[in-house]
Amino acid sequence: MTENTSKSAVEIHNKIKEGSLTSVGVVQEVFQAISNTDSKLEAFTEVYKESALEAAKKIDQQIAAGEDPGPLAGVPFSIKANICSQEGETDAASQILKGFNSPYPATVVNKLIEAGGVLIGKTNMDEFGMGSSTENSSKSTTKNPWDTGCVPGGSSGGAASAASAYGYIHLGSDTGGSIRQPSSYCGVTGLKPTYGRVSRFGLLAFASSLDQIGPISRTAEECALALSIISGKDPRDSTSAEVPHENYLENLTTEIEGSTLGIPKEYFEEGIEPEVRQRIEETIDQYRALGVGIEEVSLPHTSYANPTYVLISAAEASSNLSRYDGIHYGHRSDQSVDLEQLYSNSRGEGFGPEVKRRILVGTFVLSSGYYDAFYRKAMKVRRLIRKDFEDVFKKVDAVICPTSPVPAFPLGSRLDDPLKLYLVDILTVSANLAGIPGISFPCGFTSAGLPVGTQLLGRPFEESRLLSLVHAFQSQSDHHLRRPPVLEGS
């Protein structure tokens, strides 16, 4: 492990700004770390060494000239492979977009670059975000830095694995837990903002009503820095919310005494591995010690959340992925004599098995005769799930629960049964259905040395509170400071 990749992005930024470090040096160092370790992790699908060093050089020149290159000046960041950049390919780890070069960047990429951030590459993911292990990728299988025989989680597994191994800021996207669950598996901090807090313009849609971009980093502080930059109303995303801009980094506090956390009893009922349960209970005790009120609450419709999620996300995905048809961009089958064959062959060849399954389920639940029984029903249950949270947030400021019922599982162990894989999402999907913010942070390890993540879910647009709750915890604990064994000997 190199010296600077162990420091936080906030610290690095300050050093670059005051001139004790150069951005070029920092960027070179991170590329060195990637070249040392990433053959073992395969977290990155692409790195942009040349353009990153050029950008870093400019930042250094600006600083030398006394200019302010922005709040992220010189800090390396990466984006998940489903976020558009003009640099390289944007393919969402799908064959169907092999070679696709976006003619425009996502709003979040623009914002980070304008803030002085240096884009170093794209991270691996489950194809179009569909998966919880980053094994459904056309690119590679990303490994968990804590045990390279285990999955990093998914779908933002590349981003979480990279955050754990290399530090800095890695943007992921979260449709049903895709930021939080891999963050928990890789021992890092990942925030899914409130729906509408961050622009989705330039994010390849999986399920439009659930998708949200968010940061994955080692600490809440770094997430706060990133969120301050990427959040805000975007005129190009109608669903981005018109709420005042916040400086989450400045808002960060360890003064959390007097807050109340709710323990939703339904989240602890079944299927939680004992070691995971223990770590969460220890975390709750620590919060108690920090002066936080703890009370049991009920989210009665919790068990319906995952089936609801399965239906809604598939339905929206079936429509969102219709644009990948081999006509205007992406893979076109050469086995086609007419238009109908072109469609079905291009899509049949281009999409992986899990994406096909979800497209078909989604097409089915929207189709004539089944819409009311499945899609409409799910939208109604979604209302009940949202209502559960509205009621609970009248009593408590946030709820606390495990991020995933299990820690990282061995590669390949859940591939044979897609449904079994869906079950690792049961504790994360509710936040997406309700549109509320959620954060996962490291709260300890299993006896096998795998990280365990705690999840906090908060009221809409109360990211500041969640970040402070985690920040306060992190200032009293060192789980986030432990470095994964993959770095040893690198």
């Binding site: 696709f100 070069n101 729906y195 509408g196 961009y329 072109l342 079905s344 097409t363 449904l419």
Partner: protein, 110 residues
Amino acid sequence: MSIEITEALISHIATLARLGLSESEIAEIQGHFEKVLHYVEALDKLDTESVDPSIFTNDAINMLEQDSPHAPLGQELALKNGPEVDEDSFLVPRIIAEAGNEAGGGKASP
């Protein structure tokens, strides 16, 4: 809602989704459908008769934009990623001409 998941149903859905499937894929998907539908059957237990569907994730309304033009991307960038293009258009296998001169005529779908 009890539904028999037949191969014919899977084929029909695959046609709607324009998704070419091999025979083994159809069989696999058939099994998957059965599991998923069984899994979501849990929702049937809930009485949602008087519940309004939750259509929008947040309360945002009237996100509109003024009617003033921005510069388009332009022909070259528009066609850049096209798998088959000529000097100004995307090319597709011949579409049987409908309604006279113009194939498809736009609004109409076949």
